[in-house]
Subunit: 431 residues, 2 copies
Amino acid sequence: MKKVEIAIIGLGTIGAGLYRLIMKNGELIRNKSGINIVIKKAVDVNMDKKNELGIPDSVFSTSADEALDDKNIDIIVELIGGTTVARELILSGIERGKHIVTANKALLAQYKSEIISILVSKGLELGCEASVGGGIPIIKTLKEALVGNEIYKIVGILNGTSNFILTKMIKEGVSFPEALKTAQTLGFAEADPTLDVSGGDAKHKITILSSLAFNTEVDINKVYVEGIEEIESMDVGYAIELGFVLKLIAVAERVDDGIIVGVHPALVSEKNPLAAVNWEDNAIMVYSDFLGKSMYYGKGAGANPTSSAVVADIVDIALKIKSNYEYNPKVYSFFNNLKQLNFEKSEYRYYFRFNVFDRLGILSKISGILGNHNISIASVIQKEVEEKNEYVPLIMLTHRALEKNVRKAFREIVNLKEVKGKNTILRVIDD
Amino acid sequence: MKKVEIAIIGLGTIGAGLYRLIMKNGELIRNKSGINIVIKKAVDVNMDKKNELGIPDSVFSTSADEALDDKNIDIIVELIGGTTVARELILSGIERGKHIVTANKALLAQYKSEIISILVSKGLELGCEASVGGGIPIIKTLKEALVGNEIYKIVGILNGTSNFILTKMIKEGVSFPEALKTAQTLGFAEADPTLDVSGGDAKHKITILSSLAFNTEVDINKVYVEGIEEIESMDVGYAIELGFVLKLIAVAERVDDGIIVGVHPALVSEKNPLAAVNWEDNAIMVYSDFLGKSMYYGKGAGANPTSSAVVADIVDIALKIKSNYEYNPKVYSFFNNLKQLNFEKSEYRYYFRFNVFDRLGILSKISGILGNHNISIASVIQKEVEEKNEYVPLIMLTHRALEKNVRKAFREIVNLKEVKGKNTILRVIDD
């Protein structure tokens, strides 16, 4: 039996969950892996956590320094969140020769390269499975299971809050504000839901995933982001009629001369297994040259699933460092120096809803503009409207087209005098 | 860069795929992992394989002994299949200190404990990711990603042929023989499809998976098996009406005093992500105490996906053996000595279709029998039949009940004079 000594820094939702997991399943972990996880220090500024979790006096501390200074501690588990104190803590840990496990997606999305370069120079390990997709083992899968594959695309449902809201809109036909209110009541959305519904959280996650999948540095500031705040029930309904469901997706794709990374709502074909990923669940579809399409589904957040991922990281690192292993920096290398292209260079099929004056000729006018921009139409639905309303919704699905051209065409079309009010443009994910 | 020398024994579909993968992505693998996979020997009795794959003279051989006797070879990759020659090969390899990678599900389902006990006594590694779910990293997930979890249930769609046939029946309303014929024409079913459609192949796979998930020995001879040969279009249709799709599933479950393992067709709720797993695809849903429900989806067969899994095993083993690691037998231990219970002790919801004489009183008679066996009815559909037919289908969904009781009740009901012809009993998987 090998003993690994860890410090849990931060006893919030995940930290407390991790403490409980190790208390409950410690023996099981020893039996499965031969690794005895010893929590040497559990640190939080809130003294109440000690009694809440029943942490012994000798283990609980309000000072992270006590953990950092403990020479016997092998791994620092950073679960305080944020990008300032957490970053300092991790860097101090590395400085003192500690291996790092973290669930901090915001930090990694921004500082992953910096942290990894220092870490590797010291011959230390980093576990970050919990930073994306909660307990779904997507990082292990990308790094290990797909080691023989060239990965060319990732499409993920990475934000549980947005997926809950969209599922509510799809299943019950309610509006975005109503669905958001329910999500907040049930605890699936925060009082300020901006980071989730505006795509920021998914942006952090796809930045981390794409960097691992393509073995390249990815600049979070170049990731395209569009949230779900503007999604209207009407489009949710038309999508269903056309055989699609609306999802907030994160996409990272290799193209000829680089990669394109973005987050946006999309119509996902009901034939795509991602369409069956509902409510607060997450899933990641990975496209690679030998394995082909594979998908990983589960709980993307919450104390228990996230703790499951943190423990897997701890055991993986312990198995290495407690077995006289020779350090292998290759698994952390960004050996591809891929150019991160502007999102305008991406190609999709598109869904348009134009609010048009119901008059002969408008369809040919719109088709003409689309044609001028090399966009060809796959199907059209013109909706009869019951009330005496001169403006009717015109829905179109296009064939594959270049984002840049589509944006130009869209701007031209909405400026036509026969088109008014709110018009919609959404991307389509087939399979 | 670490060099690992391997011998590929068997250059059939998977062996040839593996050779091609390493030729194409060898450099990528070196960049990702620091492991240089060198194919020292590629062995097949068929000389044509040499030219087909462009294997150098010094590498190709028709004799496995040449590979076994080569002291520099670290890993024997057994891809010949079957349970006789393959078993001898693996045992000889172990005898000579070779680590083993295999995709051989039939062999592992039957001889896993024997092979592992000899292997562990010699301090050697076994990779068998490719034996279940093709390239889906389910074995790595069970062993590593879920190391902190107590796993209590696995439900898998593990046979691509059966899933293709059932999907065809569901989407196009065709009969089993018709769907089978299409599957054979398209290469998704063999000329003799017995092993696939009768559940034998899925039995091999669930035996391996349940043994790993529950860390216990599982006796393949005690695994319950029911195939899909008897499935009728009528039941496929009623299932859809009720919100279910028919799938051949493999289930392994921990119960109070042991485990129950079986393979059978089932009505899977459309709300369950497994319901969206169509055609030849596979998926495995894992239920565990911390991660909760998680699912792993992809191609369950084929040269490329399977080769992807074999390569992941090779790299994992190489990373260990080329890094001065200390051998860890724990990861192979069957530390739980769980009793494998008779399938009659399992509990499900059930779907019945009885062919009943359409007369007042029969429903109460049937309900009475079910009640006597502690089976309560959740819903009933009595079908009007257009033709003048005195016998009509009576469809019932039950609440959760004990298999043993259900079998007894079913026998009693089909013996009623008002019930005749073919009657159906199927299990239900909700979520």
